[in-house]
Subunit: 427 residues, 2 copies
């Protein structure tokens, strides 16, 4: 128990200790690493210098980059130390004055995003996409159960929770359809959200060497929530043959707080059974020297994260992460199996998290069946896709110790109107 | 004329002045920015400190990142200064002792790669891909002439010329084909090169704002040669529906020397006529305030770069860049039209450069028609795809002043054998 008074149901209690980077609102100083505790944040550098000086240099910087690169031994030691500071009454005199009210800080991008990859790991989501767009064909692409499909997104437009998202402009086929296709240029009118979980790589890997399933937690530091904003009209005109590009690259929002994997040990659940069994590098089975089969190996667990999607304050969906077909460790093993190296700050998203039920779908494309059945909101409005001014908030919780629940950092974004410039026709 | 003795036909004469980053072979010091002149390199920091101190801080660093970020006015001023140092006899006493023989240095990655995007801008290449894989269907995807198709690649595996490329392992359908598809895991046996031109972004842009055609040279600093290594078997099994991923992400090689755009003014040629005319943001036509129509605007020119592909020292192809359907300015305008921001160090490739003639094709996929007609080399061997130990070298030249030719930095890579690990089956 912390000497700090925190509601036992608080999502950011002593068992969470998510990390982020903050500035003081209205201040002009640089950002600095901090840990979130209750409704306060604890900047790490100064307190660490006094109480755990051996780690202080990891926090003498604007964000979490050094902490991420430091590796699992340091991650464990620092989490233990921070827990000690906040629970041992003897440290209170030093720690309490350093706490800052959450309302007084601004969260900034918590780490420098190196490469950003997005996967497509929910069978419910991928099947719904098949039902919507490939009527009469197989629900899933033929490779879907053999490999965890992914692609690279734009790292430079990953933004922190709270950043407004400007409605993008782009090409789409004009109505009526012609052959050859005539296109028009306009702001997207199919702006969508995608509720995802993102994984943050701390420790890089060597070019030419695959990272096995069992090494997942030697490389991945923690988890963020991620909104993979998507302009469906732009995306569907451009994505064949080389994949999504401008339909996604305008913005990807992540939570400002990164929940370390070590806060999620109580969230481990068995993965979804996979049939057919994937190749050994994705299953760990029968591969000499691969210890993916040991019970605590990352190859053997999924995470029971329960997401919530809020639109203008109204809960519209509760996607369950535990039902994802491919696990985070499988995504990492696949990403690197060709020898592609990892760097500190690599980020990969799970793809839209959708459950089997209508109130568990992770994007408006599914919730409105590509706009065919508008979503009715409690406030009396309806949505096919997002309107200007709409605010999307993703939150999530995970099981903590003793039946408690841990909160993940929220990701929040408001849709700003398209910018009409000389690039787009007059309004 | 330089006071340095340089063969007038030397590809790296006074009109080239490509920039890179070097270390001293066998030394242990950090890398530093340099300019290439003839068969020598001139480290920039110290000489700049003596002769142009106002720019010296741009070179007090390991690579070209600060120069790139400094913008067009600085780029012009520094090129003028370096030209002056190397041509005015009065500076010889200071400059000559600083020169280092090219053979004594190692080139390193010239800049920090931010995001890497690859386009698909050669109509000859895209049509050949259609002929090979989509027999009976339209040669080009329906969107090909409306937009310059592109996708994000892996920035973290962009490597400098000279870096060995480990043959990647991955999934492919097993023979005979079954339904559902059974896959096998193996080193690729369809390893290919792709001869491309890469464009290096110096000055970033604001999130939410498109970069018009006419602003191309306010953002792009220069040009590299680029080999987009591709594992065709991995690529073709994975790339539907979200695009190339592991078939490309294992390595992308770029030249160590970056040729500034200002060295290529004599290489400007009119772009290929486009029919149908693309939307105004890609054509500049009829858009108030867009000066893409002025004769010297980047919206009005392509670049006459002549590439050469060498395999184990043997010339196998001479792809002409001037025939690319989409120009570099169009690629940049498209990349940003949705508001995606640019960062210093963003790199984008043109896609495989292929001409209309059989000896102008930019990849083995085309040169051997997907392996169906092996390429006979002068040394008596044949190739369907690359063998272990094969060395691929891409070079290029461009018109310089007075009928001269300027060389671009070469990109060189040797194929290293696959690493058999617990990820792959026993050999």
């Amino acid at each position: 128990m912390s000497w700090l008074t925190i509601d036992p149901d608080h999502p950011f209690g002593i068992d969470s200790l998510a990390y982020g980077a903050i500035t003081i609102k209205g201040g002009s100083g640089p950002s600095s690493p901090a840990v979130r505790i209750g409704d306060a944040v604890l900047p790490l550098h100064q307190v660490c210098g006094k109480l755990s000086p051996e780690h202080a240099q990891l926090f003498d910087c604007p964000n979490l980059d050094r902490l991420l690169a430091a590796g699992p031994d340091s991650w464990r030691a620092i989490r233990l130390a921070v827990t000690d500071w906040l629970t041992d009454e003897r440290h209170r005199d030093i720690v309490e004055p350093a706490l800052i009210d959450l309302a007084a800080v601004e969260v900034v991008l918590p780490f420098t995003v190196a490469d950003y990859v997005d996967f497509y790991a929910s069978e419910n989501h991928a099947s719904n996409v098949g039902r919507i767009f490939r009527k009469g064909a197989a629900l899933l692409p033929p490779n879907w159960k053999n490999l965890t499909i992914g692609y690279h997104g734009r790292a430079g437009t990953v933004v922190v929770s709270g950043t407004p998202v400007v409605r993008p402009c782009g090409q789409r086929p004009a109505e009526p359809a012609t052959d050859p296709v005539e296109t028009e240029f306009a702001p997207t009118d199919r702006l969508d959200l995608e509720a995802e979980v993102g994984f943050v790589v701390g420790v890089g890997s060597e070019l030419g060497r695959a990272v096995p399933l069992a090494d997942f937690d030697q490389h991945v530091f923690g988890v963020v929530l991620l909104n993979d904003w998507s302009a469906r009209d732009i995306q569907f005109w451009e994505y064949v043959p080389l994949g999504p590009f401008l339909g996604k690259s305008f913005a990807t929002s992540i939570s400002g707080w990164v929940t370390p994997l070590s806060a999620l040990t109580h969230a481990r659940v068995p993965p979804v059974p996979q049939d057919p069994a994937p190749l050994p590098y994705l299953s760990g089975s029968g591969v000499p020297g691969d210890d993916a089969a040991r019970p605590d190996s990352p190859g053997s667990w999924n995470l029971d994260l329960r997401l919530e999607v809020h639109l203008n304050g109204q809960l519209i969906s509760q996607p369950p992460f535990a039902g994802m077909y491919w696990t985070a460790a499988q995504m990492l093993a696949h990403l690197t199996v060709n020898g592609a190296s990892l760097r500190t700050g690599d980020l990969y998203g799970s793809g839209t998290v959708s459950g089997p039920h209508p109130d568990e779908l992770g994007c408006l494309l599914e919730l409105t069946w590509n706009g065919a059945t508008p979503l009715s909101l409690p406030d009396g409005t309806t949505r096919r896709f997002l309107h200007d001014g709409d605010e999307v908030v993703l939150t999530a919780t995970a099981p903590g110790p003793g039946g408690s629940r841990i909160g993940l950092g929220e990701v929040r974004g408001v849709v700003a109107p398209a910018r009409v410039s000389n690039q787009s026709p007059p309004p």
